[in-house]
């Protein structure tokens, strides 16, 4: 079973949801008369068996959805939901959100990503930008302490992944957050994570859906 070191209410809801819906992608589609272009694209991706994650905004209980990988460019995957929200993930690391509100515009995670995937504890820089209430881009830099919390098992439904839980504790002059990553021992994939997006949005919880 999954043991969560932090009791994250949303992640809990996500996991419960994932367990009760074996295939969240096909379950979404009823017999709808007219589809929007983004719904048509989403359905096409679902039928083609695109990789899927379940992601949600931790501070808002009901805001989660299945995201399908639409395309990848320069190592950054573009993941879309049926209501046309977009997450950009680089090896499981969140580098942009679109359509969630108070979006993360971009992020430079190069160093923390290497440290977390390859388990090099220490201090690393992270850069992140978001739009403020006046539509200005705010770029913030953080110093993040990367550490391992040890082995964890993550139940993904069809199988249980053996992972190493990595913690990234970030601070700027006036903001701080803790990101968590469950990194698969075998494949090195981020199976599950919780990543802070922006001051308005807070953390996003993301979990792979094996298909």
């Amino acid at each position: 079973m999954i043991r969560l070191p932090l009791l994250l209410p949303l992640l809990g809801a996500l996991l419960a949801g994932a367990c009760s819906i074996p295939d969240p992608v096909s379950a979404v589609f009823g017999a709808r008369e007219e589809q929007t272009p983004s719904e048509r694209r989403y359905e096409g991706l679902a039928q083609a068996g695109a990789p899927a994650v379940l992601a949600g905004v931790e501070n808002e209980e009901d805001r989660f959805a299945a995201f399908l990988k639409a395309e990848e460019r320069n190592g950054i995957g573009s993941w879309v939901s049926i209501d046309n929200v977009n997450l950009s993930l680089r090896n499981g690391f969140l580098v942009a959100t679109r359509g969630l509100g108070g979006d993360m515009m971009s992020a430079d995670v190069g160093e923390v990503q290497a440290a977390i995937l390859f388990d090099f504890p220490g201090y690393y820089p992270r850069f992140q930008s978001y739009l403020d209430g006046e539509n200005q881009v705010v770029i913030r830099s953080f110093v993040c302490k990367v550490a391992s919390r040890g082995a964890r098992e993550v139940d993904l439904g069809p199988f249980t992944a053996r992972t190493r839980l990595m913690e990234e504790d970030c601070k700027s002059s006036d903001q701080s957050f803790v990101n968590l990553y469950w990194v698969d021992d075998g494949t090195g994939e981020v199976r599950q994570s919780r990543q802070w997006a922006s001051p308005r949005l807070g953390p996003i919880a993301i979990r792979q859906i094996p298909r």
Binding site: N86, A96, G101, M105, S106, S129, D132, E134, N135, Q136
Partner: protein, 683 residues
């Protein structure tokens, strides 16, 4: 928040300011007096207040039902900041244009002495110098300071010759922020409430006032006070928020289409190799695919042409308030349909059929910067921003069947009128039918009909008492005489006479009260802070039933305008010319604009109509507030709610209300606004 609706102790002001861009609404009630107020921190140091007071029984002998409806403006400026030992100092004018009930001036100092405790002391003149007063210390500068002249001329005139004149008095107090939510205030007031005492509507026995304030996390505040030395209990409800911070969900708009790399872009069979070097219309299938992708983003594709290596598209953006976002979305969508041979994309924005701004983007830069940390600034730096009429910009080639373009809308409308002379809120709701036909680019026929369902705007029974032609004072009769209103029916033509130039001709039923014709020329280079305009109008007054008929009042009017963007959030405008009543003069306005669409401004008009002929108010002035819908809803929308608050509407300095003035149409696509909103390019 004081009971006067501005930063203060109980009734007295303090030297403290609210945070920049803070807006506070207040409603206070005691005995026979109520005050509704709006205070805005216009800059770090400058604050303005509009106050609508109802003093029941104040004018027993003078007006109407004996009730005074008083509209007043305050302005205050913090000229010294608080230091370690030095207090902050603020100078203020209270009710400096209104009917004079509250008029006074003050200088006040405030210092936080220990954590959470602030002491304030000040000196006031006029009303704030009416309790326990002494000879004006400014008397050393001349005897004229020693007496405060009576209000001369018409009420509402700016009483320059009263300021800081006559007896002065001291006031002071202490504010204690007891907890994060509760604040307790105690003051010694220099306001003797002389006029209210005389009218017998306020029981005054001494200068001490106390109040307690509770502020909720959502910005709502509740206050209770005992005023007038223990005789009068008062309550106040207030709401305070910052216009820089949207209150609700922000920015819930759908995701854009990601950039598709060039090597993955769809190819045209046999390669794209047009025989001429000049731009040609894109193949129809390509054009249709592009139009579909833009349509998905809420954008309309009007023209798509390509040379061997570059594409130019003309778009119509009816969704995104930030033009940069429309351009960014259009460019990204185009990477998904343009063949790999195309390396450069030019997006031309349009308004009312006029091409405005051409933004040229390198396709490789789009690919490189989409996920860059500083991609917003870098894409702005590498974009080429030009006038759409600049040499080298491919002309527009509308596709077949685009014109004529017909559209209509049907829905509800609501008109709120605030703070009328004898009714705080008037309003009307009803059904509205609008229709428009764009026969060719820029040639637009449109009309709008309204059917009132309910409202009290027409309840007013005050006949106009103006000595001037009644060009605006009888505006309520237009609500009164009919429930079916044709609010406009016009033919408009918008055109570009040349680079940096914009033109408009409008004819028909221009607005609720006037029909006629209007022509305008605007010079506004794409990268200029300055704009110059010239407008000439012929207006004929419409019948009160708002049908097709006219009355026999007409006027030839117009003005020359200068627009200037100070680029620190302030925009100024001066219009000089002739007004509806035939008076000559100029209107000055200054707006604070926020990049999220909020606008708060003030204006005044001085014309050759003498103050006593103008009537109450002496000259036209007011404040304007515009609230973008997107700020409230989080959904993209170019519409907003705007209102103008005037102390009084008179006939002098009245402008014709023509729709679609050019500067407002083009400036959001131009610098500096375009660049100010570039943060949304990648949104």
């Amino acid at each position: 928040m004081s009971f006067m609706g501005r930063p203060g102790i109980v009734e007295m002001p303090t030297a403290a300011s609210q945070p920049d861009a803070q807006m506070s609404l207040g409603y206070a009630q005691f005995d026979n007096v109520s005050r509704t107020s709006l205070t805005f921190q216009a800059s770090d140091r400058l604050s303005g207040t509009f106050r609508y007071s109802i003093l029941d029984g104040f004018d027993e002998a003078r007006f109407f039902d004996g009730t005074r409806y008083d509209r007043s403006f305050d302005i205050s400026y913090r000229f010294i900041d608080e230091g370690e030992y030095r207090p902050a100092f603020t100078i203020g004018l209270q009710d400096f244009t209104g009917t004079g009930v509250y008029s006074s001036e003050y200088v006040v100092a405030s210092k936080t002495v220990v954590d959470r405790v602030r002491l304030t002391g000040g000196i006031g003149w006029g009303r704030l110098g009416s309790h326990d007063s002494f000879d004006n210390p400014l008397g050393i500068f001349g005897d004229s300071f020693k007496t405060r002249p009576g209000i001369n001329g018409e009420a509402g005139e700016v009483q320059f010759d009263q300021w800081f004149r006559g007896p002065a008095a001291l006031f002071g107090g202490v504010e204690w922020q007891a907890t994060d939510r509760i604040k307790l205030n105690f003051e010694y007031s220099s306001d003797g409430y002389a006029a209210e005492k005389d009218a017998g509507i306020f029981d005054y026995s001494g200068p001490l006032n106390v109040s307690a304030e509770y502020r909720f996390e959502n910005g709502i505040g509740l206050s209770a006070a005992v005023l007038g030395g223990g005789t009068t209990v008062s309550g106040m409800l207030s709401y305070s928020f910052n216009v820089k911070e949207p209150p609700g969900p922000i920015d819930r708009e759908a995701a854009p289409l990601p950039v598709l790399p060039r090597q993955a872009a769809p190819r045209i069979e046999g390669g794209w190799a047009p025989s001429t070097a000049s731009p040609v219309a894109a193949p129809e299938t390509l054009r249709n695919r592009a139009a579909a992708l833009l349509d998905e983003q809420g954008l309309r594709l009007e023209s798509l042409t390509m040379t061997r290596s570059a594409a130019t598209l003309y778009i119509v953006n009816e969704r995104y308030p930030a033009s940069a976002e429309a351009i960014g979305r259009a460019a990204r969508a185009m990477t998904r349909v343009l063949p790999p041979e195309i390396g450069r994309i030019t997006v031309v924005t349009q308004t009312q059929g006029m091409p405005v701004t051409a933004v040229t983007l390198e396709r490789s830069e789009l690919e490189r910067l989409e996920h860059e940390l500083d991609g917003s600034w870098q894409s702005y730096a590498s974009a080429k921003i030009q006038d759409a009429k600049a040499p080298g910009i491919a002309p527009r080639v509308p596709g077949p069947g685009q014109y004529p373009d017909f559209g209509y809308s049907f829905g509800l409308y609501a008109i709120p009128l605030f703070f009328d002379v004898d009714e705080p809120v008037r309003g009307e709701v009803g059904l509205q039918l609008g229709a428009g036909l764009e026969a060719a680019p820029g040639l637009i026929f449109s009309g709008n009909l309204r059917q009132k369902i309910a409202g009290n705007i027409d309840d007013s029974d005050r006949p106009p008492n103006s000595e001037l032609p009644h060009v605006r004072t009888d505006s309520l009769r237009y609500y009164d005489e009919t429930d079916l209103e044709m609010t406009h029916l016009t033919a408009e033509y918008f055109f570009r006479p040349g680079q940096d130039l914009y033109g408009r001709v409008t004819a028909g039923y221009l607005e609720r009260m006037y029909g006629g014709a209007s022509g305008e020329i605007l010079w506004k280079p794409v990268d200029s802070r300055v704009g110059l305009g010239l407008e000439l109008d012929y207006a004929r007054k419409r019948d009160f039933d708002m049908g097709f008929g006219f009355q026999d009042y007409d006027m030839t009017l117009g003005h020359a305008s200068v627009y200037y963007d100070f680029q620190n959030g302030y925009v100024g405008q001066v219009d000089a010319g002739r007004y509806l009543a035939g008076d000559w003069g100029a209107t000055f306005s200054l707006d604070r604009e926020f990049d999220n669409g909020w606008r708060v401004g003030a204006f005044f008009t001085l014309t050759d109509v003498p103050y006593d002929e103008f009537g109450e108010g002496s000259f036209d002035k007011g404040i304007e507030v515009e609230i973008p819908i997107s700020w409230l809803s989080g959904q993209p929308s170019k519409s907003g709610f705007s209102t103008t608050l005037r102390p009084v509407t008179r006939d002098g300095g009245a402008q014709l209300d023509v729709r679609n003035r050019l500067h407002d149409l083009v400036r959001s696509d131009q610098e500096p606004k375009l660049g100010d909103s570039w943060g949304r390019f990648w949104r």
